[in-house]
């Protein structure tokens, strides 16, 4: 990573911390510890399942919300505060600004996920009193969640590069919802005919496939996740993020900032 990108990334991270983004960890800690203690009393035989399902779902949703709401403001806030002009008046290229922002936000989410993962494992230990080898798959699920964040961060940046913060949030969240239905969209495409099929197939491949990255249920049941899936999901998230970031750079490069 070049030094300017790294500098923008570290500033973005610091800004997020200063904005008290990591305060969500308190809510997460309360949620997961409450679930670990209470579920045993109101349900039967699902303490471990709840901790894993609730923990990983909360990690995902908290992260998605942070990624969207911070991501959409990364560019517009800099324009609004006019700090962007200060940055771009120095020897910083526009693409470096976008990529730096992306890495900064991604770093924030990775740190956030790291602390939440500690919470999930602590709660798991509390309910199960031990760790088993299959618990390692929870790390894979967390890794996939981080991959989801990378995609959402890049998509949020893409939308924020040409739209208002409110519309960017709507677009990004809608894309997250549609991406969760990507498998259904693909199924619909196979059932339709003619031009509808063509459009549905195009849409199914264009939206991010979050369902492939969601292995929460499987790891909650201690089912293994294949190495091939890990590798291909990694490549998919990498290329999808690269695609969205490229789009953001292309738009931002041509954007009139006057």
């Amino acid at each position: 990573m070049n030094a300017r990108v790294a500098y923008i990334a570290s500033n973005t991270f610091r800004e997020a911390v200063r904005d008290r983004v990591l305060y969500n960890l308190i809510a997460f800690a309360l949620l997961i510890s409450g679930a670990a203690v209470l579920v045993a009393q109101i349900s039967i035989e699902i303490e471990r399942l709840v901790v894993v399902n609730l923990g990983l779902t909360a990690v995902t949703l908290f992260g998605i919300v942070i990624a969207i709401f911070i991501g959409i403001g990364l560019v517009s806030k800099e324009i609004e505060k006019r700090t962007l002009y200060t940055v771009l008046s120095r020897p910083v290229r526009r693409w470096e600004f976008i990529v730096g922002k992306f890495f900064g936000l991604s770093g924030t989410l990775v740190v956030n996920t790291f602390f939440m993962a500690i919470g999930v494992f602590a709660a798991l230990f509390y309910v199960a009193h031990k760790f088993t080898a299959s618990d390692a798959y929870i790390l894979v699920a967390l890794y996939f969640i981080v991959l989801e964040f990378l995609i959402i961060c890049s998509v949020s940046l893409l939308f924020s590069s040409f739209s208002t913060p409110l519309l960017s949030a709507v677009f990004a969240f809608a894309l997250f919802v549609i991406g969760s239905f990507a498998d259904d969209l693909r199924g619909f495409a196979t059932l339709s005919h003619g031009i509808t099929r063509w459009f549905a197939t195009a849409a199914a491949y264009l939206v991010p496939n979050f369902s492939a990255l969601n292995v929460i249920s499987a790891v909650a049941h201690q089912q293994p996740v294949g190495a091939q899936l890990i590798l291909q999901n990694t490549l998919y998230a990498f290329f999808y993020s690269a695609m969205a970031l490229s789009g953001a750079v292309l738009i931002f490069e041509r954007r009139n900032l006057k």
């Binding site: 349900s43 039967i44 399942l49 779902t57 239905f181 929460i216």
Partner: protein
Amino acid sequence: MTARGRTTALATAMLVLSMAVCVLLLRHIDEIRPQTNNEDVLYLSSPKIIRRASLGFNGLMACIYWTRAVQYFGHRHVAQNRSYKELAPLLEITTALDPQLVPAYEFGASFLAPPPPGGAGEPKRAVELMEYGIRQNPDNWHLYYDLAFVYYTELKDYKRAGDAFERGSHTPNAHPLLKLLAAQMHEHAGDFDTARMLWQATYESSNQTEIKENALEHLRSIKVDEDVTNLQNAVTRFQERTGYPPASMWELITAVGLRGIPVDPDGNPYLMALDGHIQVQNPDDFPFITQGLPLGYKRGEAPKLHVRP
């Protein structure tokens, strides 16, 4: 105190006071407003729609629905409600959301199958639930065992129970008792030994305290049923031989050559009514017995579970 300090103290006091008043008011409002039964309503009853709406987080949704099913059953069970019409849909939604959630099949079937007020009285839906669970988890022998259990205890369909045990015995890591139970079911389905074997297997194979206690209770009841049946047969034989029923338990045991008056699992001697009817002293202590109940005895709505310390 500075002006700022005074403001802080006043605001803190107001905050605490307002919060307390709100809590008190809400408690009063809850008392006076008509009570609704929101928990009994399933706004969305289609498992497919709920699965879609869960945005891929169906594991968590399944846990929520399973907890809801447990709470629904528990509240109605405690309230001695005889209607459990939302139980089956709740279980179907739960298992559609997470087909690998085995406790929902195992406990769900035991909620659905028994007659009210102990359960929903829907053994056929319990069978459907178990069959669905078996299709989703074909290698889990517990599910075949529980299916056979429903056939055996609620539907008295010993052939199907035997078939279910047989199918379960072919799964990997199946409990060795399954093969034995399959054979037993085909040959001696109604015997006390078969019932005892079944509950013994339940007791040994479960880690759940509640299930173990329930199995223990059934084993105690089987012992009573067997003792009473044997004693009643002895009374019949005595009557056939002498032309009149034995005048007392002593006369009966002397006639059949027993060493003393037989006792129930709690150590209380069995009683004999004037007409020769054998009965237990404390029927409330044996919630599952079918023999030895005093004439005209009506079991309380809530079965009293006798749990040993």
